[in-house]
């Protein structure tokens, strides 16, 4: 065999190995995609995977990092394309995904309806978390206000929306929130303003009651509130491009107060990104929204049944308790299923109600509406 033949044979063999790897998912290994933070990856690697493998010795998890939300969209796009061509999407479970996307996928039947999947733990889910049967809420976190206690003593920290607005106006340049589509902390701060403008009643916004006219009327009042505080924000109306950037500005002592995710800020304080003098406060007139993280399974997944076993396991007492105690997140199943001692221990941390805001068409109306009506009003 001469050198050229050898090279060609080698390339062909290599290509064959590659294609066989790419073409089909491994049987009994569930491809789980996620695009979140490292604490979630650690939790799945150290708690979910060993426990699941113990419960189902013939099944295993392949944990794939899609980097971020956009990466998850790309995988979902691929799954939808595979759905149309009846091929293997090579993705069995999305750790967090909004099943209203990609456009048209839900109607076409890409996503599994968990309410009809006979999961033993489905009836135990917290009803607050269920939007539709296609996303399975298994954990949650909430947005709180973080502030610098060296500049603002905890007893003076605002605890209602009106007090917060008064504080922002009295301390111009000391508050900033991020663009609502670039991270949930700013996103839910904006949605809290929408609740404020509409009688503090989260039930006024549901997935089904969206209409252009209703959105224009209800959101318009919120834009007025946000435009009112805009000149008193950092740089007269600047907005950071993500959760992390807000924490960075708080950490650099540029601003005194920012909205943050509860689990993210606890992690930042733990790692020293934020000093231990960081204070946290939640509004008491109506809490800032939180959201549930919803898993999704494509109906064409190669390991569909195994993926269903996995999500049922994630809703078990074992994992749900670990979410509360190890991850610092809120569980997806209702509070009543937890033992008394845990309920007592976390009574102050876990709110009995978590206002949520629907996604779907509201998501676009709120985010794009904010860009068009609030973001351009900058006093520079």
């Amino acid at each position: 065999m001469n050198r050229r033949d050898f090279l060609m044979l080698g390339a062909a063999a290599g290509g064959l190995v590659l294609t066989s790897r790419l073409a089909t998912a491994a049987p009994n290994v569930i491809d789980v995609y996620y695009g979140g933070d490292d604490n979630i990856a650690d939790f799945w690697a150290n708690t979910v995977r060993p426990g699941f493998h113990k419960a189902y010795p013939d099944l295993d998890i392949n944990w794939v990092n899609a980097a971020d939300v956009d990466g998850m969209y790309a995988i979902a796009d691929r799954a939808f394309a595979a759905f149309k061509t009846h091929t293997d999407p090579q993705a069995d479970l999305f750790e967090e995904f909004d099943t209203n996307l990609p456009k048209g996928a839900l109607e076409a039947g890409l996503w599994t309806d968990f309410s009809k999947a006979n999961l033993t733990n489905y009836p135990r889910l917290n009803p607050l978390g269920i939007r539709n049967g296609f996303g399975l809420p298994y954990r949650a976190s909430q947005v709180v206000i973080a502030y610098d206690t060296t500049k603002l003593s905890p007893d003076k920290a605002p605890k209602t929306w009106d007090a917060l607005v008064a504080w922002i106006k009295a301390n111009p340049g000391q508050f900033i929130y991020n663009r609502p589509d670039k991270g949930g902390s700013g996103g839910f701060f904006v949605r809290r303003a929408i609740h404020q403008a509409n009688g503090l009643d989260p039930s006024k916004f549901t997935l089904d009651n969206y209409s252009d006219a209703y959105a224009a009327e209800s959101l318009g009042k919120a834009w007025a509130i946000l435009n009112d505080i805009a000149p008193s924000l950092y740089q007269g109306g600047a907005y950071t491009s993500g959760n992390t950037q807000s924490i960075q500005l708080l950490g650099q002592s540029v601003v005194t107060m920012v909205p943050v995710w509860s689990d993210q800020v606890l992690q930042a304080i733990d790692q020293g990104v934020l000093p231990s003098t960081t204070g946290l406060v939640q509004l008491t007139d109506l809490a800032i929204c939180g959201d549930f993280v919803r898993m999704a399974i494509p109906t064409n997944a190669a390991n569909h049944d195994a993926a269903l076993k996995l999500v049922d396991y994630v809703l078990s007492d074992e994992i749900q308790t670990a979410i509360l105690t190890d991850l610092g997140g809120f569980p997806g199943i209702s509070w009543q299923y937890f033992p008394d001692d845990l309920r007592k221990k976390f009574a102050d941390v876990v709110p009995t109600s978590m206002p949520t805001f629907p996604g779907g068409p509201w998501e676009q109306a709120v985010n794009d509406g904010w860009y068009r009506n609030v973001a351009p009003n900058i006093a520079r």
Partner: protein, 294 residues
């Protein structure tokens, strides 16, 4: 061999050579058609051939919306503004560096050159965070100023100047390299001759150097302008929430607003602007070839 046979042999050889030449360029041409021309064509068609009633019909409504929508126009405007300001700054920064590197002698220019090329090896997201830590609020510059009791700077972070600073730095290497290659074509004797008759440095630059590197400046500008116009990471991280540059605007329209039609329309408009700059580049390259052929 008769004369006739000889001619046909030569013709066949020529045909063989040209077939081989075509084969060699076939791969890039096919790639261009597949990955560039086809997407452009499909974007153009899908943004004007819109569903109406039962079927599809030719409609410019998506473009009409863009050009009557104040918000979209502001985004296009800020993109053009950023492009022009950054291009001017780039030229102002890079031309002196390139001239220095061309005419200086010794070991120092080697270090200057590696410094000027350095940004090429820094990913833009790293650069974005570096800019925040240096000229951002309470960043390195503020710390230095504060230590000598001077007031803090008005930080460009989250203003239109943030992306301008980042993009200028990011595009220095390519601009310097292109200008340097243009300056390499200037003959030392012509510079020396001008100096001999008493021309001052500025006169040498204006009358000897500038006329000879006009082409390189055009090429450098059209390259950097294309990169700046389509920038994404730096305006995304460093720029204001609104107005947005076209890159983040398109991405947000596609992902967050979930409106592929509007995003495609924005892409076609961005492409139309870029093609203008591209034409400048093609024209200066063609002019250069004419001159070389003459």
């Amino acid at each position: 061999m008769t004369a006739e046979a000889e001619t046909s042999h030569a013709l066949r050889a020529a045909a063989g050579r040209s077939a081989l030449g075509l084969l060699l360029v076939a791969a890039p041409v096919i790639l261009m058609c597949w990955l560039v021309f086809w997407p452009i064509l499909s974007a153009l068609i899908s943004s004007v051939w819109l569903p109406s009633g039962d079927g599809h019909a030719l409609s410019l409504r998506s473009y009409v919306f863009f050009f009557t929508d104040r918000y979209s126009l502001q985004n296009l405007w800020i993109t053009l503004w950023t492009t022009v300001v950054t291009a001017v700054l780039l030229l102002a920064v890079c031309l002196p560096i390139a001239i220095y590197l061309r005419f200086a002698r010794g070991a120092l220019p080697a270090y200057v050159q590696s410094l000027a090329i350095f940004p090429m090896f820094v990913p833009s997201v790293i650069l974005a965070y570096a800019v925040i830590r240096t000229v951002g609020p309470n960043g390195a510059v503020d710390v230095l100023l504060n230590s000598v009791h001077l007031p803090k700077i008005h930080s460009p972070y989250l203003t239109p100047w943030g992306p301008v600073i980042g993009l200028t730095w990011d595009n220095i290497p390519l601009t310097v390299l292109i200008l340097l290659s243009g300056l390499g074509g200037i003959s030392q004797p012509s510079v020396d001759a001008a100096r001999d008759v008493g021309a001052r440095p500025l006169a040498v630059f204006w009358h000897i150097i500038l006329p000879q590197i006009g082409n390189s400046i055009m090429v450098a500008l059209s390259f950097s302008v294309l990169a700046i116009f389509s920038a994404f990471t730096l305006p995304y991280v460093l720029g204001p929430a609104a107005p947005e540059m076209m890159g983040p605007f398109m991405q947000r329209t596609f992902r967050s607003v979930n409106d592929p039609l509007a995003a495609t329309t924005q892409a076609v408009i961005a492409f139309a602007v870029c093609i203008l700059f591209g034409l400048f580049y093609v024209r200066s390259v063609a002019r250069n070839r004419d001159r070389a052929g003459r």
